[in-house]
């Protein structure tokens, strides 16, 4: 029952949405749920922040070295 997804199911599907192409029905159900459930909408934004943070990780930790010349 796609209209009756629980927050738990939504959290799993939102995570999968980062790893596979969701079907139209799945995307619709997620969007609908996000509109009425603040917690899941926030959860989804947290996942996005996490993804972006990971993409920047090693650069942030070591600092850019592009301009450094060997001695």
């Amino acid at each position: 029952m796609i209209g009756m997804m629980s927050c738990r199911e939504v959290s799993e599907l939102a995570s999968q949405g980062l790893d596979r192409k969701l079907g139209a029905g799945e995307r619709f159900a997620l969007g609908l749920h996000f509109r009425i459930c603040r917690n899941c909408a926030r959860f989804n934004r947290q996942l996005e922040l996490l993804r972006r943070a990971l993409q920047r990780l090693p650069d942030e930790v070591t600092g850019p070295r592009e301009g450094v010349q060997s001695t």
Binding site: S6, C7, R8, E9, S11, E12, S15, Q16, L18, D19, R20, R38, N39, C40, R42, F43, R45, Q46, L47, E48, L49, L50, R51, R52, A53, L54, Q55, R56, L57, P58, E60, V61, T62, R65, E66, V68, Q69, S70, T71
Partner: protein, 190 residues
Amino acid sequence: MSNENDFQGELGSHRPYLLRYANLQLRNAAVAEDTVQDTLLAALKGEQRYAGRSAIRTWLVGILKHKIVDAIRKQSRETTLASDPGDSDRSEFDHLFKADGHWQESAAEWGSPERSFDHKEFFRVLEECLAKLPKRTAQVFMMREHLGTPTDEICKVLEITPTHCWVLLYRARMSLRACLQQKWFAGARP
């Protein structure tokens, strides 16, 4: 164009960065060391194909990524049952949800990414949280999020099913989310 010694020196100067990168992925200092060594050797042999000094680190990371995936594949073959215990078990998240599937606690507003990304400390905390993940979970997660490997390729490399893969990724995200909430968003940052 620089002579060969300069080029070697230049490659060597990226070594600490590459090591750090490999360690984040592999969680094994010796394997990371080997992987970086292979990368630098491959880079040295392929010197002609490198054009443009400014992108040298990007070029090296490109080589390193392949070596890392190879190393993970090898590790996975060698340790036949490389899975963390309870790999497909989702009961560990039961405490986060009520019986009807609603959240136990309301999710916190983390604000815009930039508000956290502007702080070096945030990334240190993130690394701390990553270190707490079970090894295999962390490898899958880093391959996916950091190397940007498509899920089906991760499945092939580790010889696991897509469903299994999604569970591991879900677990990693849930765990990192809780850890960041506790160590970063609930504390120093609003």
